[in-house]
């Protein structure tokens, strides 16, 4: 009956490798990128170790700020759409008979089993002017001129939602599956209509899952570069493309590094909120 600390066999030989792993494998590369972000670009690309903060100050250029702003906006909209689509999906899966839950989760994850590049190209085939969607709409007589769908913000949004929806569904499913059904019944018994049961009990109690899902979708959306590159074209550059551009084309690694650290700082704000809400553990 008495709650008490319960020391289990402690396997001390298990503690040293993870500590080493965390420091070396995760810490060193991050520190290296941080160091590079304060260096200068060499004449032919490469790095010159002249300490400078210009890589950070030059981000204030309106051109870059616009790209940051567009990235933020696209990531927020992606997150909201994923939440709106992912919640009912997760709820249905969590309330399905036990043996179906695994199958449904499997269906949600299946697109991950094919190459991301290939999947994004599939969306290009669907969305381009002579693509599947326009052909279908023309055949149905709904439109008379093909629509310009590819290389718009809409195409990028579809690609991002498609790519990151499973990251929303999995933590939401975990939260909803853990939800005690008798709480739902109690609310129903206490005169709540189904919609009220949902807003007053189901939604608040799945909050850790909502937070975890939003963070897991928001962060990769913000840094995405393959999707906006292929589906957005030149018109809708995001921060991820900018970094990729600095690294692969301009070969200005210090500026690319500072960009990615500013991005990380922005992301940390979201993560701190996420940790404060105690949502960290619920993402598993």
């Amino acid at each position: 009956m008495t709650p008490s600390p319960k020391p289990t066999p402690s396997f001390p030989w298990l503690v040293i490798p993870p500590a080493a792993v965390l420091i070396v494998l995760f810490g060193v590369p991050l520190l290296l990128v941080l160091a590079v972000s304060f260096a200068s670009r060499g004449t032919y690309g490469g790095i010159e170790w002249a300490l400078t903060v210009t890589n950070y100050t030059s981000i204030a250029d309106p051109l870059y700020l616009r790209i940051f702003w567009r990235s933020l906006w696209l990531a927020v909209v992606t997150t909201v759409i994923c939440l709106a689509m992912g919640f009912p999906l997760a709820y249905v899966i969590a309330r399905a008979p036990r043996r179906w839950q695994g199958v449904l989760l499997f269906l949600v994850i299946i697109p991950f089993w094919t190459n991301f590049l290939v999947r994004t190209y599939a969306w290009m085939f669907i969305l381009r002017t002579e693509g599947l969607l326009n052909q279908a709409l023309l055949a149905l007589g709904l439109i008379h001129e093909p629509l310009s769908l590819l290389f718009t913000d809409w195409a990028v949004l579809i690609g991002l939602v498609y790519g990151y929806l499973p990251f929303m569904v999995l933590p939401l499913y975990a939260a909803l599956e853990r939800l005690d059904r008798s709480l739902v019944e109690a609310a129903w018994d206490l005169y709540a209509k189904p919609a009220q049961v949902f807003t007053r009990v189901v939604l608040p109690l799945s909050r850790p899952g909502v937070i975890a899902g939003c963070v897991l979708v928001f962060i990769p959306s913000l840094g995405a570069y393959v999707t906006p590159d292929l589906l957005g074209g030149a018109r809708t550059m995001m921060v991820g493309n900018l970094i990729q551009h600095q690294y692969l084309v301009v070969r200005d690694w210090p500026f690319g590094s500072s960009l990615s650290f500013v991005l990380m700082a922005g992301v940390l704000a979201a993560v701190l909120y996420y940790l404060r809400a105690g949502g960290a553990r619920s993402l598993t």
Partner: protein, 364 residues
Amino acid sequence: MDGNGNSVELREVTKRHGATVAVDRLSLTIRKGEFFSILGPSGSGKTTTLRLLAGFEQPDSGGIIIEGRHMEGVPPNRRPVNLVFQNYALFPHMTVAGNVAFGLEMQGLPQAEIGPRVTEALAMVRLAAKQDRLPAQLSGGEQQRVALARALVNHPAVLLLDEPLGALDKQLRLEMEVELKALQERVGITFVCVTHDQEEALTMSDRLAVLHQGRLLQVGTPEDIYTAPASAFVANFIGVSNGLSGRVEGIVGQHATVLVEGIGVIHAPAVPGVDAGAPVLVTVRPERLHLSRDQAPEGYQNHFAVRVAKVIYAGNETQYLLTLPNNQTWKARIPNADGAATRFHAGESAYLKWRTAEAVLLPE
């Protein structure tokens, strides 16, 4: 409200779960303002009956009438009943006061009315001081009282209770039995309580129903059921009973004589429908038996020698396992009021005695 004084009526209600019949043509009438218990072992269909009353499940056939209204198709949020869940099901993200206010808010009452009623309900269960706590900060007993307040604040016509004391410690359970019954008398609401604990059911109920495999075995006051069980199952479930199988030798007025192989003639009160020659089970409750070193009948109509097989001291009483002449084992519970001197020891011989009126005859 209907005029016949009935709060709840079940008419031939049947409910299947897959291949098993959870509730089998159950008909019950529960009167206004009574404390009614549904008693049965696991799988007897008692929880399903409660869920049918709450509206979480719909009967496959038959009708449920609550306060004169047919409940077919009426969802839980529109029924005049509230359920106290076995695990309490308190909303973990709301304070105690928030939990209690929930039902009133959902009914759309103005805040000005909700406040005083929540305060009153919490005062009733002596938890006014803890209204701003979260459920997780309360003890098991306190959570139970919040669950009660959360249901009673709505003034339901019927309060449903699912194993209300099952999760409490023994000491607390005994206190709450008395408190729950007192509460019910104070508020005057019909209580329908589901339990597997026969002591709880006997102590708290005005009337109770015994269920087994979805069927109603007996319904009546605690005394009816305790003193005149309708079947061997009820007799056993209401309190471990001793039984002897035999055949009715003769019936004279209210008196039956039963011939039991290896023991002889046993005297018991006659029951309607059991005639001479019928196979019967004579049951006597352990606490109705008398044990003495003296062979004299002392006014007991039944008496024979037994051997004490085991002695269990249990505080206010001593429990004896006795070996009968036909090698059956019976149990006797003798109060310790007379002190240690008169107690028997394992291996001793003794005389087992009981009066005719103490036995109950059940058809086999």
